[in-house]
């Protein structure tokens, strides 16, 4: 009886098995293959002679153009994250502290509503607003405020506007949960001890909400640097980011190896960010084991 119980598979393990298999099949295997392809001279499945090479990575490092593309991608990601945080934090704070259930439901609906529409549709909507013949420029010109259309599209600013609109809900939803768990009595205690509402917020609420800020920022940054549709439509191909370059290498240059190397670079940037996030979270929350 006892031997039977020792050989019986753990129930939890069996429960996890499907998702573990799914994760291995659709995450580790593709990434492993991508890493392999980035270090080969060709596709071993269809080419008879392939060898290991570092030429794809050397091309990235040796040509300043690719380093500029990487920096543009990171810059767009950082600006998008900061703007999403600036817009999302007050909204999340309001949602977390609002007493009215109806008010909370309405705010939640307002945040979630844009997510019910596809990214492509939302980006096209921004195009109709930001283009030279778009609503904003036509309105300003008809009012006589400008003579020539403002360059709102085909710029990094245009891309950031589109990305912020798409990713603000991710920031708000992440922050709302964290801020909602902060005991309001801590702020009240700070104010009773003479702190102004602003100081109570800066010294109590803000530090306690840092895990939410970091988690939301990580999510928005990762999504922004891997975005394809919005940068390509609002940037008009004049702002080159890593996902656009990867697609170009696969679809038009048929250079799978180089595209894989660029993909690995994008992955490494994301991983470095996760590691930095864990360290920062460990430091602010005092949980050293997180590191």
């Amino acid at each position: 009886m006892s031997s039977a119980s020792t050989t019986r598979p753990n129930g939890v393990a069996l429960f996890i098995l499907p998702s573990a298999l799914l994760f291995a099949l659709f995450f580790f295997l593709p990434i492993g293959l991508m890493a392999l392809m980035s270090a080969l001279t060709g596709n071993p499945v269809v080419m008879p002679k392939v060898a290991f090479t570092t030429r794809h990575y050397a091309r990235i490092v040796n040509d300043p153009y690719y380093l500029e593309v990487i920096w543009t991608t990171i810059r767009i990601g950082l600006v998008t994250t900061l703007v999403a945080l600036a817009i999302g934090y007050p909204l999340a704070h309001w949602m977390a502290r609002i007493k009215s259930r109806t008010g909370h439901a309405l705010l939640l609906m307002a945040v979630l509503a844009p997510m019910l529409t596809g990214i492509v549709v939302r980006t096209f909507a921004w195009m109709t607003l930001l283009s030279d013949k778009g609503v904003i420029n036509q309105t300003l010109m008809s009012l006589g405020l400008i003579a020539q259309p403002l360059k709102l599209m085909y710029t990094e600013t245009g891309i950031v506007i589109g990305l912020v609109h798409i990713y603000v809900p991710f920031m708000v939803l992440t922050l709302t949960g964290v801020i909602g768990r902060i005991d309001e009595r801590l702020e009240q205690a700070a104010e009773n001890l003479g702190a102004s509402p602003l100081r109570a917020f800066l010294e109590v609420t803000l530090p306690l909400s840092l895990p939410g800020i970091l988690a939301g920022s990580l999510l928005v940054f990762a999504l922004a640097i891997s975005a394809y549709v919005t940068p390509i439509l609002l940037g008009g191909f004049q702002i080159m980011t890593l996902p656009i370059l990867i697609y170009q290498q696969i679809s038009a240059n048929f250079n799978v190896g180089f595209a894989a190397a660029l993909g690995i670079v994008l992955l490494v940037i994301s991983l470095m960010l996760v590691i930095a996030y864990n360290r920062a979270l460990g430091l602010v929350s005092g949980q050293r084991e997180l590191q």
Partner: protein
């Protein structure tokens, strides 16, 4: 008796079983019925081309050759063909533009030539359709020239060089050269216009620098929308991208520049590993039939490759349907271009970055 009656009663289990069987049967019926038919896997465009292929041209081929056509219209095709096995390729017939066909041929993904013995209609095509600058056979061509708004008072445009006129700053349209055939062909034209010929890349790069500011798009469909909305006033485009709005009272027109129009060929090739070679050749031959060419040409405004096609007057007046008109086509040396594509892409990406 009672038992028999009881056993025939409709229980919930029986109802669900019958329902599930009926559902599976309904879903599977078309596949079971067609299981015997050979399947020819091809690529093809969406839009008007896809509509008429699905509604008329495809079914007529399926009916005549007792087969099934399976069309992939999700561009890009070549990476998918590249990823599939050489001995069991994802497509039997590849339909795409000439630059990609050359890349496919270089990688050994398609057969470089079509056998005239297996495709008799090849004897009736214009020389450009099977020239040394073509892999496979070009079944149609478009003329790449300039598209313009006629309601902006731009005057009479006759030359490619007018695209560089500063009055078009802010309303000039071009393409993402690394991913677009028209953009690549236009780059070669820049070498001819401002340098020693198509292969004068330095002259072409210098000309492209002077073309800024320019609005660039990846597909001709996007350029059509920009021209229709007035976002663009003068742009590089193929004739069918303008003529397809014929009769819709749109203020746009196509200009065939005096220096000549570039050829945008619709090319068919057969994959070496195809198990449906006979059917693939039959399909290529079918697509070159005069009646098929006429129907497609008059739907999508492509110039037919078959010399024997007689189009209605409206189409005949605008499309390239005579040896004289066809002789104005300038074909690009895609083999030469593809060998330098990485270098060209790096340079033009730098030129057009914001």
């Amino acid at each position: 008796m009672m038992k028999a009656l009881g056993s025939s009663r409709l229980s919930r289990r029986r109802f669900l079983t019958a329902g599930a069987s009926l559902g599976i049967g309904t879903i599977a019926a078309p596949y079971v019925a067609r299981a015997e038919d050979p399947t020819l896997r091809i690529t093809g465009w969406g839009g008007k081309w896809g509509e008429i292929m699905k509604a008329e041209i495809g079914p007529a081929f399926e009916s005549e050759f007792k087969c099934k056509l399976q069309t992939d219209s999700a561009f890009p095709y070549l990476p998918k063909l590249q990823a599939s096995s050489r001995s069991a390729p994802i497509y039997d017939v590849l339909h795409t533009n000439s630059n990609e066909q050359w890349a496919a041929a270089e990688m050994g993904l398609v057969e470089p030539k079509i056998d005239p013995k297996l495709v008799p209609n090849l004897a009736d095509v214009y020389p450009y359709a099977v020239s040394e600058k073509i892999v496979g056979v070009s079944i149609f061509t478009s003329a790449i020239g300039l598209g313009m708004r006629t309601d902006k008072g731009y005057g009479n445009v006759t030359s490619w060089k007018e695209l560089w006129d500063t009055k078009y700053n802010g309303v000039r349209g071009g393409y993402v050269i690394p991913v677009n055939s028209l953009g690549q062909a236009f780059l070669m034209m820049c070498g001819t216009l401002f340098g020693k010929g198509q292969t004068d890349l330095d002259a072409a790069y210098a000309a492209l620098e002077k073309l800024k500011p320019i609005k660039i798009v990846d597909f001709t469909g996007a350029m059509e929308k920009m021209l229709l909305s007035g976002e663009v006033g003068l742009c590089v485009i193929h004739d069918s991208g303008i003529y397809r709005y014929d009769g819709q009272n749109q203020p746009i027109d196509f200009v065939a520049p005096s220096e000549g129009v570039l050829s945008l060929e619709q090319v068919l090739t057969i994959t070496p590993g195809s198990k449906m070679k006979e059917l693939a050749n039959a399909y290529v031959n079918y697509m070159l039939r005069p009646e098929v060419q006429k129907r497609l040409a008059e739907t999508v405004w492509y110039s037919p490759a078959n010399k024997k096609v007689k189009l209605d007057a409206k189409y005949d007046a605008k499309l390239l349907t005579t040896p004289e008109k066809v002789s104005k086509l300038i074909q690009v040396d895609w083999k030469w271009y593809n060998e330098r594509k990485d270098e060209i892409d790096q340079r033009v990406n730098r030129i057009f970055r914001a």
